[in-house]
Symmetry: C2
Subunit: 271 residues, 2 copies
């Protein structure tokens, strides 16, 4: 599939990562083998790719070592071309438009996609879960569409939707809004806004936080939200430590929960 | 894992289905084997379950036959207990609250979860993708939380998030709003509303349609949306016929696309 063929244009493949990848220091300590977390076809396709664009090359190499432990890579890891995605600002207004990330030119995106012109597929990989969803990568996908390059998402899990499914909150209408403002006043204001939207549109509102602030986030939620609002928290889904809890805010206040500061969490509310 | 143990309470496992399941008439004609679409650990866990609550028992049996072809079921298919989820109204305001579906009592949910009291895990399965997301099941999950039953989502793909990833539109803020109104005037009004929300909040808006109306939906979108609004359409993702196209509405108008009337589609816009 990756051999250069003059008449063939390569594709941009969106390769899902496991959800525990970020915390895996090396391939041997990573616990579950990757074929337990991802479909075999995804691993086989990933193993055949020679060109990668990745959120963090170091994390991508861990992923590829894990792939290699299940199905051999087409070339030794050192011979693969592993580029780094230009970083958007964390929590910033990344809008899926090429112009949204100041300093990333159309030419840079084109260079990252250049192997497709020689008939090679290019893999896009983030540090955990699906690329381009609550993760960088959308601008590269956008550039691929603009250039007429076929974009193919490979089947893999998203922590956001697993959390939503496990919440029992409305899965027929929901929104993910990324990170909330860090400053206390702005955060409380934003939460009231989300609660109002949720109430008006009957829409579950999902958001995330950096793990070391999980505990502070829960405190803010319990202090700011209405007692009858439903709140769901999921931590470390798909790992052995994973859990989901859903209750009203009043219910959460009655029974305190210790939030881990080293597992990714997804928060969801339905007013 | 499923043997009755007096001291153990069973869990509610959210089991992902493949995304091609709905159109698979039988296990032999279904093309790709299930282990190519789902992680092996998910199939092994599913194979060990004796109690199921499913969107459509007939479709669930096809799924279980496909599982059995990869890893043997704990009991013959005929001996498994496969219950049917009470059906919410299609496109209705299913809100993840037990009261939202008229006619489904708390007692009915409790009966479906009864095996957990004997220490059995119960699997929740929809006809495609993740249960309880753009699919029935949220009320059962909600009932499980209320009863203190552990809810565990197993890793699997969601067509919505694969479509979002492949769209190149904003993956840092997005909303899924289900089905649009069918009546032409109401549909156009709703689209203008979604376009306004998208513009104001920089939020990608996703929605779905029943396959036989795909073509009419695309016509309406091209007639109603602003020329500079970005529109992405994904059809049949994870199947060999799958494709994703993203362009401005003006771009779509220039190059017509024939929508299949037998593949599920996801529509996304960013104004």
């Amino acid at each position: 599939m990756t051999a250069p063929v003059a008449s063939r244009v390569g594709r941009l493949l969106l390769v899902p990562n496991a959800l525990d990848q970020g915390s895996a220091d090396d391939v041997t300590s990573s616990g579950a083998a990757l074929h337990l977390a991802l479909p075999m076809a995804v691993l086989q396709t990933a193993a055949a790719l020679e060109y990668w664009v990745t959120e963090t090359p170091k994390v991508a190499r861990v992923f590829l070592k894990r792939v290699n432990a299940v199905t051999p890579l087409v070339r030794p890891l050192q011979e693969l071309v592993i580029a780094e995605l230009p970083r958007p600002r964390k929590g910033g207004a990344s809008r899926g438009t090429t112009g949204a990330d100041a300093g990333v030119s159309a030419q840079q995106w084109a260079q990252l996609l250049e192997p497709t012109r020689q008939g090679h597929d290019v893999g896009l990989l983030s540090d955990a879960g699906l690329p381009a969803v609550a993760d960088p990568g959308a601008e590269l996908v956008r550039a691929a569409h603009l250039a007429g390059i076929e974009v193919v998402p490979l089947a893999g899990p998203s922590a956001l939707l697993l959390a939503l499914a496990a919440s029992g909150l409305n899965g027929q209408s929901f929104a993910f809004v990324g990170y909330l403002p860090v400053e206390a006043g702005e955060r409380a204001k934003r939460l009231q806004e989300l609660e109002a939207i949720s109430r008006r549109a009957r829409q579950t509102q999902l958001f995330i936080e950096t793990p070391y602030r999980n505990s502070a986030m829960l405190d803010t939620l319990l202090a700011s939200l209405a007692p009858q609002t439903s709140l769901s928290v999921s931590c470390g889904l798909t790992t052995p430590q994973g859990w989901t809890r859903t209750a009203t805010v009043a219910g959460w206040r009655k029974q305190s929960v210790v939030m881990p500061n080293d597992l990714p969490a997804v928060f969801a509310l339905l007013a």
